[in-house]
Symmetry: C2
Subunit: 388 residues, 2 copies
């Protein structure tokens, strides 16, 4: 069990009409607000008007950056940075899902430096400061609302890179489960897969665990499995949307991770995938994760799979360990591909083996992924092949 620092001061307003508190928080951070959002669904839903009312109530002046895309691109970040600098923006307000939040967070850092924002990823340039960020979440998935990470894509270099930086942590986030009622079945499913992957990347670890956090993770997994199905079938079920929303936040706000320092495995694999094919992150993770777990299973680590199977899927603990382990992977696949109805193979989503070799090398950064099980490019290629 490693030492760790827990330090997550983001303030969260949770519940129906949480956004009605936005104006009081906005007042704490200055007069000029850059409102960042995606494709305009917030205009259709009426949320845009609510937000503008809150900004007006705060006595703030609003500037806008719209059109932030899924798998947000460095060009959107650059555009936001430009507005921040030209207009002397005080505070950023991200309204949307993880993509909008991630782009906004990197705009907040880019606004404080002279160099190009892509240098944060290509040169690992220092992130010493950032404009304050507030978020209003409309999709339960990435957990970006309460962590300091963000993933940005660069279509020119075919890179999709995630990075954590302390100054990016949102000051306050507004989580209203009813804002996710209109999320499609498909996006709800992808969100659930993303949440589950965040947990499993930590749960399956080479390091010694803290039992308490394993219990918490099993609870979060059970929550997503229980309410993922409900939300798919009954999109306006408050209980389901609330549980998914709060579980998505805690899956990846560093609490469950504690002192674990191993690298994640499925995320870097998926990033290479969506960098080239632009598929939804959660779908890529759903296809990859069961194959990854199958590939890594061995006599030495089977106990972790057994714990997972018994505590999350209620598999009969009297079965032989290897059987429980395999059943647990089957159960997970069943949840992704039957319950959530996600596509189950690369072939189904139009991905073939053409780029496997280069993707495998890039995901290992030339060497290996030092995660649950050490993966070398040839291992990654095999996992990709299992996904066909």
């Amino acid at each position: 069990m490693n030492n760790f620092i827990y330090d997550v001061p983001t303030k969260v307003y949770f519940g129906e009409n949480a956004v009605s508190n936005l104006h009081t928080e906005l007042k704490n951070y200055g007069k000029k607000v850059l409102l960042c959002y995606g494709g305009g669904s917030i205009k259709k839903s009426g949320l845009y008007d609510t937000i503008i009312d809150e900004i007006t109530k705060a006595g703030s002046e609003v500037f806008e950056l719209s059109g932030i895309e899924p798998n947000p691109r460095i060009d959107s970040v650059r555009e936001g940075v430009k507005i921040c600098k030209e207009q002397n923006i005080d505070v950023l307000l991200a309204v949307g899902g993880g993509s909008t939040l991630d782009a906004t967070k990197w705009i907040s850092a880019g606004a404080k430096v002279e160099h190009d924002a892509w240098d944060f990823f290509s040169q690992w340039a220092d992130v010493d400061d950032a404009l304050p960020v507030l978020t209003v979440l409309t999709l339960s998935a990435t957990g970006s609302e309460m962590n300091c990470g963000g993933v940005i894509s660069n279509p020119e270099t075919k890179d999709k890179i995630g990075r954590l930086a302390r100054p990016l942590l949102p000051k306050a986030s507004f989580l209203d489960p009813t804002l996710t009622y209109s999320v499609s079945k498909y996006q709800t499913a992808c969100g659930c897969a993303d949440i589950i992957s965040h947990i499993l990347e930590v749960y399956f670890a080479p390091e010694k665990d803290m039992y308490m956090l394993d219990c918490v993770m099993e609870g979060l997994l059970k929550t997503v499995i229980k309410y993922g199905e409900v939300a798919i079938n009954d999109p306006c079920n408050y209980e389901a949307r609330a549980n998914l929303m709060w579980a998505s936040t805690w899956a990846i706000n560093t609490f469950v991770k504690a002192g674990k320092a191993h690298e994640w495995s499925c995320h870097p694999l998926e990033h290479e995938l969506s960098a080239i094919y632009d598929i939804t992150h959660g779908l890529g993770l759903a296809i990859l994760t069961p194959r990854f777990l199958s590939y890594c299973l061995n006599e030495e680590n089977v106990d972790k799979y057994v714990q997972f199977g018994i505590n999350v899927f209620d598999i009969d603990k009297n079965l032989p360990p290897m059987e429980i382990a395999k059943l647990s992977i089957e159960k997970l696949s069943g949840f992704f591909f039957n319950t959530l109805g996600l596509q189950s193979s690369f072939t189904q989503v139009g991905i073939n083996s053409e780029h496997f070799k280069i993707m495998a090398h890039k995901s290992c950064e030339g060497e290996c992924i030092n995660g649950f099980v050490k993966l070398y490019p040839e291992d990654v290629e095999k996992i990709f092949e299992m996904c066909l």
Copy 2:
């Protein structure tokens, strides 16, 4: 499910030698430090010297308040306030268990007002400001290290009153499980009972739950049950001490509570008990809790007991609900009185029925406790009688 605000910015350094980070945090809060501690066990253990070294490293000047008692008294708070005012203290450093932390937190508030510190409890005087507080924890129990509450006793008025106030939230806490190796079997047991009570006060609720948080609470309960036994039998077991420590913090830092607004039941009963008899808080809770649960059990709320019994104690789910409920209370009693070895009745700790009537009235503040089940003074008296 009620709306809520989650806002817990306390920074936590967790792990062996966590205290080695103290000087860097101290530097953030000023030059004059008031070190608050209890009966001197920190001198025997060597922790005192470590702390002084850290204060020296920070370049700070140290003042001291020692002798803070279990069930800390208003006179200790007054004494601390006096030092703060006379010496212009910048920051308070509490080193000890929940009692030391609670007293220190109220000193931090008292230092900012002209009136007597007891007015915070007798008059509910406003708490608008407080000196910054850092804590070094030596006992896993109260969770005071990451919440804004503190309980103070007044032997003159025979009152023991807890109160939450935002400015009391520690800025940073240092949690080193090895500092609890020397905690006695008895105090370890009382700490476990306290943690379990904090969770059950929330878990058994009249309000609609968030399933996710129920899962988290069940995980925390299982953690305390698993590692309470280990710590009693193997006091220097790092894994056990670490799990108990982090579980104690999260049992009562508002996370699991979310939007629940019902009053707690066993805590007010126990406060009346220890206000008169000065028994250890956790022991009082251990004796009271199973009786409280038995008294409240009925056909309408039996499902919650069933959930508790199945998920925490692994009781056969095929048994009739009322049987599972009763078994779950038996299992809890067994943990408190057999596994932890705590005394199981008032009689054993020298408490008779003499003050039951007045204690019952005081715990209901004249009317009732609006908790899991509404309790009137006559109900409380009956629960006290069940404890004899």
